[in-house]
Symmetry: C2
Subunit: 426 residues, 2 copies
C-alpha cells in the first residue's frame, strides 16, 4: 500500500508547487529588511535548540538505515548528529544572522555630465536550488545563507539524510513563521524519490541558479542535464609546491597540515610537488611526520629514488582527489614544471607554494589559474570562515559570477538604478 | 569544384586548432601588461584606417550578396560600412585602449588575525566565444574588449558579413603582431559554414563563456545546445510607465525619445503603461508626436476608448520586441498593476517610471526585477557608454556574473591570493 501511495504521488505537480511558492517568496524576500531575516534566523536557531531531541531521533533513524545498507565510516560520520553538532548548527544560524545584510548595499554610484545619477545596488539572485550530500547541517547552513542574501531556497539533501533534513527544515519553518516570512522561503524537497533531482534540474525559469555540492558524478549530472546556471563546486585537487627557495622547517609543517589536518575536506592537499634542487635534502624530512601519522605515499620514480617509503604512483594518481591519508609526490624541475603540472591535473581550487623567494611566489600567484593561490600557508585555509567572509555554501571552482568561497555576497546579483529629471538621449 | 573543396574541409579539426591557439594565447594575455594590449589596439585602429578601401571592398561584396538574397533595409543598414563607420570603428578601438586596465586591479584586501594577508584580484575569464549578427563593427568592438580584459576571443559573425569580418580581423591581427602578442588572441572563424557555430557551442573546456548577440532564436539555440556558460543578451522588451504623479510635458518627451530616437536598439521602449488616473488627460498629448512621426499604436480597450488612433493590441503585442516604429499602449490601475505587467511580459532589461512621486519611484526601482531601472529618463540611455563604462559587448539580461552593460570589467573574473609566513590551520 505504501508503495502504491508513493507511486501515486504526482512529483512534477509537487515540484511545480514548490517552485511557485519559492518564486512568490523570492519576490517578498527581495524587499524584506534585515531585521525580519535576522529574526527568522534567530528563531530558527532557537527552534533547533528546542527540538534537539526530535532532530536526534530523526537522525538516529537515518543513521540506522544507512548502517543497514552498509555505509562507510566516513559516510556515517558526515551523516551522524550529536548534541554538539546540533548546538554548532544553531550557532551557525546565529552567526549568519550577525553578518551584514548584503542586499541593498550600494556597490557604486556616480553621476553623468547630463545629470543622470547612476547607482549599482546589490539584489538577491532569486530562487536557489541546492543539491547536496547526506550532511544534515547543510540543510540549515544553505537555507540560512540563501535567506540572509534574500533568496528563496529549494533544498535537496542526500536521501540517506531525509528524516534529519525534514526535522531541521521544520525548525527553519518555525523561524520563518516567527518573523512573518513566507514558508516558501526555505523548502526541503519532501521526498526521497531521486527523480526529484531531475525535476529540479528542469525548473528553468523557476530556479535561477543550482548549487550542486557533492561528488564529481553529481556535478557531471547537473552539468549534463540542466539548463539552469550552476555554481560548480568541483573537486579540490589541491597542490602544495615546495620551491627550491623554501625553508625545510616551514615546508614540513605546511605540508603536514595541508595533508593531514583533515583529509576529507576539499582544501586538503592531494599532491606534493618539490623542486629537484631540494628534493634530496628535504623530502625524507618532509615525509617523516606523514609516515609517522600513517599517510600512504605514491610518487614518481625520481621521488622514489630519494625515499623508498614512497610507493609507485601511476598517471591516475595525479588526477585523484583522495580525501584520505594518501599523498601523491612528484619531483619537478622548476617553477614552470610545477605550474604545468597544476594546470594539467589540478581543479582550479586551491594551490600553494612554499618559498622565501618573493619573485617565485609572485610568478606562482600570477600564473596558477586557481580560485585561491596560497604562499607559505596551508591549503586547509581555503574556507570562507577562515577568509573572514563568514559561512559559505562551498568553494566555487568556476570563473563566472563566484570564484572561491561562496558566501552571502556571492549569492547576490546587482541592478542599476538610474535617476534623472527628464533626460532624453540626444 | 569549390563545393567539393568546401566539403573536404575538416571543420572539427579547424575549430580544435582555433581553440588550442586561443587557450595558448589566453595564458599569455593573462599576464600581459596593459602597454602591450594598448599598443595592439592602437596599431589595429591604425590598420583599419590604412585598410579602409580594402574593408569597403570586402563589405561591398557582402552587401551585394545580401541584396541579391533579398535582405531587408534594416538588415542592409546594419551590414553596410562607409568611410564614417570605418573611422568610428577605429576610434572605438582607441577608446577601448584608453580605458583602465581591469586586470590585476585589487578588488579588496584585508588581513586575518593569524597574519594571513588576503587579496582579491581581477583576472581575465580566459577564452570568450562571441556569436553575433551580421554587423561588421562588432568584430572590432568585441575583439578589442576581450583583448583589453586579457581574454582570447573566438569571433563568429553572421555569415552575410563574412568578407567584412575577415578584412577587419586582418587589421586586428596586424595590431597583435605589432605588439608582439599571439595571433590566437583574436580569431575570426574562417568559414561561413553554419556548422561552425555548433562546433563552438561544443567547445566545453576550451571556451570559458559564450556571448550570443542577436535574435531570440540564436539565444535559444545557444541555451539549448551548449554546456558552456552564457551571458545572455535577451530581447530588450522595455517599458516606460507614466505614473499618476508624472508631469505631462516630461512624460511626453521621455516617451517620444524612448520609442523613436532609434527604434532598432534593445533599449527602445516597446510598451507604454499609463495610470488610469491620468490616462484621459495625458494619453492623447503623449501620443500626438508619436503619431506625427509615423509610429503605429496598438492598445488595450481602455486606451482605445480614450484615443481612437490606437489600433487593437492582442496578447502577443505585450510580448513583442517590435524594434520598429510601433508602440503597445496599456492603461493600468496603479503601480502594482504596472509592476505586474512588467514582471509578466518584460525581459528584465530596462524599464522606466515617469513620476514626481518619490515613493512611487523608489518602490518601482526596488520591485522591478530588471538589470536597469530608470526614473524620469529615457530607456534609450541603456548603454555602456552612456553609463560612462566605456564600450560594451551587450546588455546582459541574466542575473549571474554580469547584469546590464557588459564592458571590460564584466569580462573578467577574480582570484584570491593569500600570503602567509608559515601559517598552518589549527
Amino acid at each position: 500500500m505504501l508503495q502504491s501511495v508513493a507511486k501515486d504521488r504526482d512529483l512534477p505537480a509537487e515540484m511545480a508547487a514548490i517552485g511557485a511558492a519559492a518564486r512568490a517568496a523570492a519576490t517578498v524576500l527581495a524587499n524584506t529588511p534585515r531585521t525580519a531575516k535576522d529574526r527568522a534566523l534567530a528563531a530558527a536557531a532557537e527552534a533547533i535548540r528546542d527540538q534537539r531531541d526530535a532532530i536526534l531521533a530523526a537522525n538516529t533513524r537515518d543513521v540506522a538505515a544507512a548502517e543497514a545498507k552498509g555505509a562507510t565510516g566516513a559516510f556515517l560520520d558526515r551523516l551522524a548528529l550529536d548534541a554538539g553538532r546540533i548546538a554548532a548548527m544553531a550557532k551557525g544560524l546565529d552567526e549568519i544572522a550577525a553578518l551584514d545584510d548584503p542586499v541593498g548595499a550600494v556597490l557604486a554610484e556616480w553621476s553623468r555630465p547630463n545629470g543622470l545619477a547612476i547607482s549599482r545596488l546589490r539584489v538577491p539572485l532569486g530562487v536557489i536550488g541546492v543539491i547536496y550530500e547526506s550532511r544534515p547541517n547543510v540543510t540549515a547552513d544553505a537555507g540560512a545563507l540563501c535567506l540572509k542574501a534574500g533568496n528563496a531556497a529549494i533544498l535537496r539533501g542526500g536521501s540517506e539524510s531525509f528524516h534529519s533534513a525534514l526535522a531541521i527544515a521544520a525548525c527553519l519553518s518555525r523561524g520563518l513563521a516567527a518573523a512573518g516570512l513566507p514558508e516558501g522561503a526555505i523548502q526541503v524537497v519532501p521526498t526521497r524519490d531521486r527523480a526529484a533531482v531531475g525535476e529540479m534540474l528542469a525548473m528553468t525559469g523557476v530556479i535561477d541558479v543550482i548549487i550542486p555540492r557533492g561528488g564529481r558524478s553529481l556535478i557531471e549530472r547537473v552539468n549534463a542535464e540542466s539548463r539552469i546556471p550552476v555554481f560548480s563546486h568541483l573537486d579540490g585537487l589541491c597542490h602544495t609546491y615546495v620551491h627550491a627557495g623554501a625553508r625545510l622547517e616551514m615546508a614540513r609543517e605546511i605540508v603536514f597540515n595541508a595533508k593531514m589536518r583533515r583529509t576529507g575536506i576539499c582544501g586538503a592537499t592531494e599532491t606534493l610537488l618539490i623542486d629537484a634542487a631540494v628534493a634530496e635534502a628535504f623530502l625524507p624530512a618532509i615525509l617523516e611526520p606523514l609516515v609517522a601519522a600513517g599517510c600512504a605515499l605514491r610518487g614518481d620514480d625520481r621521488a622514489r629514488a630519494i625515499d623508498p617509503r614512497i610507493g609507485r604512483a601511476d598517471e591516475s594518481d595525479w588526477g585523484t582527489e583522495y580525501l584520505d591519508a594518501v599523498l601523491a609526490v612528484r619531483v619537478v624541475d622548476d617553477l614552470d614544471a610545477a605550474i604545468k603540472h597544476i594546470d594539467r591535473y589540478g581543479s582550479h581550487h586551491t594551490d600553494a607554494i612554499v618559498t622565501d623567494d618573493a619573485d617565485a611566489a609572485q610568478a606562482f600567484a600570477a600564473r596558477v589559474d586557481s580560485g585561491i593561490v596560497m604562499h607559505n600557508a596551508s591549503t586547509q585555509f581555503a574556507d570562507g570562515a577562515e577568509f573572514g567572509m563568514g559561512a559559505e555554501i562551498g568553494i566555487s571552482t568556476g570563473k563566472l559570477h563566484a570564484r572561491g568561497p561562496v558566501g552571502v555576497e556571492q549569492l547576490t546579483s546587482y541592478k542599476y538604478v538610474v535617476r534623472g529629471d527628464g533626460q532624453v538621449r540626444p
